[in-house]
Amino acid sequence: MADLRFDNRVAIVTGGGNGLGRSHALFLASRGAKVVVNDLGGGFKGEGKSSAAADKVVEEIKAAGGQAVANYDSVEDGDKIVKTALDAFGGVDIVINNAGILRDTSFQKMTDQDWDLIMKVHVNGAYKVTKAAWGHMRDKGYGRIIFTTSAAGIYGNFGQANYSAAKLALVGLMQTLAIEGKKKNVFANAIGPIAGSRMTETVLPPDLIAALKPEFVTPLVAYLCHESCEENGGTFEVGGGFMGKLRWERAEGELFRISRAITPEQVKASWSKIAGFEKATHPSDITASMQPILGNLGTAKTKGGNELIDLDLALGYEAQAVESSYDERDVALYALGVGAAHDPLDDADLQTVYELHGEGMKVLPTFGVVPILNVMMKNAREGKTIPGLNYGFDRVLHGEQYTEVKYPLPTHAKLTHKVRVKDIFDKGKNALVVTSSTSYDEDGNEVIYNELTTFVRGAGGWGGERGPSADINVPPTRAPDAVMSEKIPENQALLYRLSGDWNPLHADPSFAKNFGFQKPILHGLCSYGIAARHVIKSFCKGDPRLFKSIKARFADTVFPGETLKTEMWKEGNKVIFRCRVEGKEKDAISNAAVELYEKIPTRPAKKAAAPAAASAGGGAAAAGAGSPVAMIFSAVAHHVDTHKDLTKIAKVFQFNITDPSAKWVVDLKEGKVYEGAAAKADTTLELSQSDWLAMATGQANPQKLYFGGKLKITGDVMASQKLDFLKEVKPPPAGAAASAPVAAPAPAGELGEFLPVHVFAGMRDHIEKHPELVAKVATVYQWKLTNPESYWILDLKNGKGKVEEGKVDKPDTTMELTQADFLDMSAGKADPQKLYFGGKLKIGGNLMASQKLEFLKSIDKEAAKAAAMKVTAQAAPKATSAAASGAGAGAGSKVPEILKALADRLAKNAGLGKEIGGTLQFQVGDHKFSVSANGFAEGLNDKRDATLTFKEEGAFVDLVEDASKEQDLFMHGQIRVDGNIQLAKKLGFLNKLV
């Protein structure tokens, strides 16, 4: 390598008479620089003054054939030093702020003079010299400035409070100058040297001083001052042969919702995240530093809540489906629990408790509340809670209950329950939480729907919606159409609790006393069941099958032994009722009604393997038997039929296809393939229709889909590997597909595939209608959509604004995300904030400007659709074919382009190759090339220190596009590394090549 020369450069070295300064001055002069050697000639404690030190260095330089002049001013008179440079050499290119003194003393003993003097020399001195040179450097468009900081400042050091403060002040100064000078090619850096100098020889042992020669520091300073060095704003530790850059590291940190108070207890609880460095980041500028806070701006729009209830987490939360089952014994026990068959000879009652009854056993409809309550009780016992509901049972009262049965409950069943938090209301001091649950039978038919309203004491007050307040189901003023009274046996609660509500309040006298009751109370849901029986007896001739639903509010306590009176009014298909304890004027159950069916509903027929009814909603039609999905599954069915050995796999796979949705089962226990949901699947695979088609036709690799998050596997993940046989599935032979009719793939619908071009058409339409946006937003956005790739410009700054496909030179903000995410986002299905924090949306440039895109939400959907239709009519065929070609097809051809860009980049920036610190050999498919300090080279390099073998070109492209991280690729076996693996961590030069 050629020598780094400083010919015609003028350098000022303050404190250049001794130690480090002398070393810097001598070296720069030896490489051609004209040097101003400044030294006050004082002692290192700041006392005295003489010209001897500077003169001696100048003489030395001249003796060696170099050019130098001396200056004896204090750095506090920085302008005079710079004037010396201007006078003697006509300019200044390099300033090395090196002068310094020490006044070490413990903080306890430190005088104001000790403090002030250090500040003056280090901080003011460096400021004055740099300030005087700054204008000249900016004008010339060239400057290199070095500040001398110290480990004492960076880490602290006993006895150096003044010095530490001053030294770190210089780092702050340097960092801002680096930002301000950058555009003018004026760079600033700081070094924290460890060197044996006059300042340290009093404290360090001689042999260490010998190892800490100033000559070991100067080379770094010289490089940082050289015109080829692009480093700016760096702080380096240097000395004794070591050189290394420092940077800030920040813990992952905790992001508290700022919509409510943050408590020190929360801080303590999150301490490991606030202070732990396991997931650290390295913010390098203020924008990066602000990033988490920006995130909080979005999340600040909370739905409300407090420490007991967090609506953002809880509202709409859907728990994972749970299964449970019941049988005749449970049914009978429940019926006895709600007082049925007091008279064992009452035939209608007997039917509800006797499984061998000649007319068949009948299930009391209110039994429908039991399975889900048992699931909820079990979850509570196991500590499974709903996120955002942070209160215990002690605060909860069962307020209201609604139970609906879709058809007469079977006497035994296996049910799947889905629980959802439906509503949360703020009742002032207290809160109401409404949880809904839907229970499905083994065929996937909805059979029971429940709504449980709980009253949560002390959990309200966030100023949220109060919810419906008017009473419904108020009894008419006329006398009741029917009245029934029933004495509740003293032991009824003990019987009822065997159905699952084990709360000691209903059994344990001392426990009940602690809650302020004179004895254990009856379960509200027991009264509920009794009242329902009364309605059935009075209006259904004892046949529970006509019962549709019941809703009731639990208004007051009932004790076993009391007599419960139910008054009923029939209003159409509805029976309004209330319950009172005989002798009391207060309602025990109020606002209550039972709805009846006109005729007994029948259980839906078991879904056959044939086409599903349009139950799956909007897209279902496309998923019918003639759909491509059905075709593939019928081919799979044929394959399974003809390969009986596959049943050895003995697993049941549930495929949940989305967009449009369809459910299929590949049962390799029984060797069956059918549409619908499996009673019990070992493995559930969820993926979109297009991905499934791609996978089944061998165009997409399941592994890749899986790691790309497009294929979700739950249950026995291992078993999914056994699906390899799908590769061998061939299209069904003609005529062999009797099981599922095969049709040609459905032609694209009228709108065709919905593509970004349509969304952007909608945007364009919106902007045309809202020209004021241009002035308001004043930002140029560049969109980059990937997979497949396309570029779009949204200019809301110039002229009338514009929306078009392509790239723009200087966008203010760039947004990068996959096409699928973009479409979801614009359809309101995905939240941009979430995409951003999930790393799926990358925002470059002005982050704040991304917040101004809120208006996208207000785009008129109808107008957008109309605009989109227009575009579709013109461009759909082209766009569709572009989308269909997919990402995979383009990937192979990308490598040459990348390599060209890489060679280019390395040629332009020689420093990049050097940073690797060795020779990296790449093998990407058939492409072999190496990267080293000498730049890019084709072929195999004999001097390689490490070889990176990419199994697939796609992995390499992903890396270049920053879609994957090298570590992940390595762990997944996509990159094999031979030789020095440390070099594989330095692939930054590949980043964003194309």
Binding site: A650, Q703, M971, I981
Partner: protein, 393 residues
Amino acid sequence: MKRSVNVIGVGMTKFAKPGASEDYHEMASKAGRAALEDAKVPWGEIQQAYAGYVYGDSTCGQRAIYEIGLSGIPVFNVNNNCSTGSTALMLAKQAVEGGIVECAIAVGFEKMEKGALGSKFSDRANPLEKHAMVMNDVQGFTQAPGAAQMFGGAGREYRWKYGTKRETFAKISEKARKHASNNPFALFNQVLSVEEIMASEEVFDPLTRFQCCPPTCGAAAAVLCSDDFAKKHGIVNPVYIAAQAMTTDYPSSFEPKSMIKMVGYDMAKECAKKVYDEAGLGPKDVQVVELHDCFTANELLTYEAIGLANEGEAEKFIWEGQNTYGGKWVTNPSGGLLSKGHPLGATGLAQCTELVWQLRGTADKRQVPNAKVALQHNLGLGGACVMTMYRRN
């Protein structure tokens, strides 16, 4: 009050490849008889038997023990994956230590099938599910044998963290082969060079075939007794258990997700700490170690977990030869799981057998000079780590 426990007799069969061995009950009874003979104790003195095996129907332990004698004593069948053998050993030790019995035998055996380990029951939760999910999140699944993916992945993670060369892993296998060449009981007696090991087919990068322990058939046994029992039988200066501990997974095995932690690094680290604390001795006091080298990657990790090498310095440790004769320790003088073989149920007791021979000074060409304190590390995923320290005065 815990009593001191002595290992007065050990024995094992020559390990063989699947298909080339006797049936399990024959192997196990042979090993058991050898241990009894070594202890010079008749079967009638044995009060309890602990039989370890992983693959086989229930009560294989009885079937094996009945070949030695039908004395009606309690027989316990033990299964703890790859640490089954030392789990049986631990139970026998606890019985003696707690004063339940004076003399007990632990027998471990395994009759394995060809090919990689697999799950036998597909109709129920896989016990390694939680572990597999960690792997799934970190590196996904491939078609490679599951255990190789797990330990190989830990090797990858280690390489990425510390910049280890692929050859370093092979170097461990080279050492194992060299040690095994002096062990008549080992499955592989042929030495291999680093180049040959590297050139064998890749199983799961960085692991090649010769860096994975082979499926093996074999048995081993140990007779344990109290001080009183030893005295009564005139046994002078026996090898005794100075400390022993078992650990199972900690939360760190699963979160944050790390392959190194998932394959039992912290189990081993904690287990070693317990053993060192109980014995009042540290790694420096140990001369010879049998550790669980199911894959080269795990031997490397274990050096650091049990304190033979500092974190991140295993590579240096290996190339300096600190793990073989002339170094600070001799690890796996028997050839280890890599070369001696790994019959799951027998391994823990075969490790014990080797270390007892070493402490008695009867290990022939493999003898580690001046062996006074020996350390055993046996690990099963799922998981359990058992470590035992042996001494002889």
